[in-house]
């Protein structure tokens, strides 16, 4: 019987799923992904996690529980300390595997290898070697699996750059049916948000889908090239040490001054530490100069859908109106 490795559809799944999938499959494992977020996944997560945690962490708990119920042999939740030199993801990522292990009952074995590229980028291959040794003694095979995974991530990044959202890109990569990139809208809306919120249509209240329905073409921070966001983020007074935060600020700076972008939405998570700082920075530092209007939204477990929708509609109306008048930058802050 093949070994089953579970991957939660949460956190950095949206950036690394192809890496993980191809790595484990090359090693001969079966990869099982948790179900798409639904009400019970979210409520299981909230029940087992401390109240004060942010929504994405609670949700990730729910996905781990979902996998545990699928009788997998392992769940892969690496300790993602740092994915870039001198940077971190977030304190909660640092503690996530421990939080899960000590709060969720009846778990299969957790693979929580540390990935820490803060000091040395080459650390990443060591981390995968360590994981691989659980499944085979064949060093060559592990190396092969790692290379394969890396190639898949490259492919993912190419697809993201050409405008696909992560789950769409996965569908393209793994040969499933996929609707064509839509581009028929009359306005272009850019979204700044953590990947694990915006690309989860359940907790983001299907923001992307809603916008598309309203006739907008949507891009997210994840569709921008790494070099560009990093270069934009150097406008900050000090290097930002959060990798995702850096992407958000860099994307924010890019979008608000892009003539092709008609409106920017910054979707922050309630109680998210980094967001409380990056939202403030994006808003403040672009207030006087930005060309596109900016809408700040905060999302939490109890956010009523109606409230968000109303604000969204008002914003889109304003964007359209402004576009038709070609008015110079009007700053919209809440």
């Amino acid at each position: 019987m093949t070994t089953k490795v579970g991957i939660p559809r949460a956190l950095l799944y949206y950036y690394y799923y192809p890496m993980w999938k191809d790595f484990f499959q090359t090693l001969g494992c079966e990869v099982v992904v948790s179900d798409k977020t639904n009400k019970s996944i979210l409520s299981d997560g909230s029940k087992n996690c401390v109240d004060e945690a942010c929504l994405p962490v609670k949700l990730a708990f729910g996905h781990v529980i979902n996998l545990a119920n699928k009788n997998v042999d392992y769940i892969f939740i690496p300790r993602l300390v740092s994915m870039a030199k001198q940077e971190y993801i977030c304190p909660k990522f640092l503690g996530f595997p421990d939080m899960v292990k000590h709060n969720v009952e009846n778990l299969p074995e957790i693979i929580d290898t540390t990935i820490n590229m803060r000091l040395k980028t080459s650390e990443i291959s060591n981390a995968y070697k360590q994981v691989g040794r659980k499944f085979t003694g064949n060093r060559f095979k592990i190396w092969q699996a790692y290379r394969k995974g890396q190639k898949s991530v490259q492919r993912l990044n190419e697809l993201l750059l050409s405008g696909y959202m992560p789950e769409e890109a996965f569908a393209v990569m793994y040969g499933k049916e996929k609707d064509k990139l839509s581009s028929g809208g009359d306005i272009n809306i850019a979204i700044i948000c953590h990947p694990y919120i915006i690309h989860d249509s359940y907790i983001s209240m299907n923001l992307i889908g809603r916008l598309e329905k309203m006739g907008a073409n949507v891009v997210t921070a994840d569709n921008l090239p790494e070099e560009l966001v990093r270069q934009q983020a150097t406008k900050l007074p000090k290097r930002l040490f959060w990798t995702l935060g850096q992407r958000m600020v860099g994307a924010g700076y890019t979008f608000v001054n892009d003539n092709n972008v008609d409106g920017v939405i910054n979707l922050a998570a309630f109680a998210c530490g980094p967001d409380s700082m990056t939202s403030e920075l994006i808003d403040r530092t672009t207030k006087k100069t930005r060309k596109a209007p900016l809408l700040n939204l905060t999302l939490d477990e109890h956010t009523g859908e109606a409230g968000i929708v109303t604000r969204l509609e008002a914003f889109i109306d304003m964007v359209r109106w402004k576009k038709s008048k070609q008015l110079p930058g009007v700053a919209l802050v809440n």
Binding site: K92, G95, G273
Partner: protein, 375 residues
């Protein structure tokens, strides 16, 4: 150039001492108050952690008194503290406060970044003098720690309510006033004497509680709603998992001073519950519980401001640690709306629980003793 810096409990005594030692003019913000918080909440990001808001309020209030340059600590992540200065500065600029800001933090590229920043404050003073001043500031923090530790012991045992705090204020004033190393030594000795002079009932049975958690909330009485005082009056002897001198060494001197009480022991004890550093003092918080349990403490209280990331990680692990070491735990999360009265009620209930537990243990031990004797 009038220099100011944010409040954090008695930190001002040390930093002011250090700067004045160098002949630098200091303009301190008024003691942190309701107004400070109101200002900070009004202008700060809604979901920022409380220390950021209080810092901001401090700076606004200090500016009203004529402060021109801010000196503060920084960091390189993963916690928000490392970006406080930049966000605060940007807010102040937007509000029209014309501050220069000097951040003391580990340099990104080379040590000259740091030295030139220090030079912005110290001007042409010799490095020798600067080092002397650092040592002096550090000695002040040690003196503060000494008298505070004594206050932990006397407060629950004082015969006259409020005597400890009166003595402590006096002792801190003396330490603050000292101008030279010699004077400081005298002040510390006198301060200790004052604390020991507080009339106490040394036979009183006290409950021992360790306060653990986020450093700013632990050290700033405004942020912790005077928890030490309230506990003391409920007959509780407290300890704090972090002292001022440790923070000074870690954050202002970047760990330059070696060999002082170190929180390494806490970090060692955090495993198997938390196996990695998580920023702030999250790891220390988790690891301090086994240490305090082994030292015979009756309970622990974790304190942190709403949305504090490292402490949320710790919070999710503490129930396990507390159960494993059979030491009761209470978590207090503070925000703008936390009221002192509500907190006191919770503290009373917790102390009550600990007293009953202590009594049961005592009874249990006695009945065992009787059984042994009878058999």
């Amino acid at each position: 150039m009038k220099v100011t810096f944010p409040h954090m409990g008695n930190l001002y005594i040390c930093v002011k001492g250090m700067l004045e030692y160098l002949g630098i003019e200091v303009t301190m913000p008024p003691k942190t108050s309701k107004r400070t918080l109101t200002l900070g909440s009004k202008y700060g990001p809604e979901f920022a952690c409380m220390p950021l808001k209080l810092n901001l309020g401090n700076f606004i209030e200090a500016s009203e008194l004529g402060a021109e340059t801010i000196m503060m600590a920084g960091g390189c992540g993963p916690c928000r503290f490392g970006y406080y200065a930049q966000v605060e500065h940007s807010i102040l600029q937007d509000l029209g406060y014309d501050y220069d800001i000097v951040v003391l933090e580990p340099p990104d590229k080379s040590i000259t970044e740091l030295t030139s920043r220090v030079r912005q404050i110290t001007g042409k003073k010799s490095w020798w003098k600067v080092i002397q001043s650092i040592r002096y500031g550090y000695l002040k923090s040690r003196a503060v720690d000494t008298v505070e530790l004594l206050s932990f012991k006397t407060r629950p045992r004082e015969l006259l309510t409020g005597e400890t705090d009166r003595a402590l204020n006096q002792a801190l004033k003396e330490i603050d006033r000292a101008q030279t190393v010699e004077e400081l030594k005298l002040a510390e000795a006198r301060g200790s004497e004052m604390m020991q002079d507080v009339a106490v009932d040394s036979n009183r049975r006290v409950i021992k509680i360790a306060l653990i958690g986020e450093i700013f909330t632990l050290l700033e009485p405004f942020a912790n709603l005077n928890i030490e005082r309230h506990l003391g009056r409920l007959g509780v002897e407290v300890d704090r998992s972090i002292y001022l001198s440790e923070w000074i060494n870690d954050h202002l001197f970047m760990g330059l001073l070696k060999g002082i009480r170190s929180t390494k022991e806490y970090c060692r004890n955090a495993s198997p519950y938390l196996n990695h550093f998580v920023g702030g003092h999250g790891l220390e918080t988790v690891g301090s519980v086994p240490v305090y349990a082994k030292q015979g403490y009756d309970g622990v209280i974790q304190l942190f401001p709403f949305t504090c990331m490292p402490e949320i990680v710790a919070e999710s692990l503490l129930p396990k640690v507390s159960a494993a070491y059979n030491i009761p735990l209470m978590t207090l999360i503070t925000d703008e709306h936390t009221g002192e009265a509500g907190m006191i009620t919770r503290l009373e209930a917790f102390v009550d629980l600990l007293e009953r537990k202590q009594y049961q243990n005592y009874q249990g031990a006695r009945s065992q003793e009787l059984e042994v004797r009878m058999s």
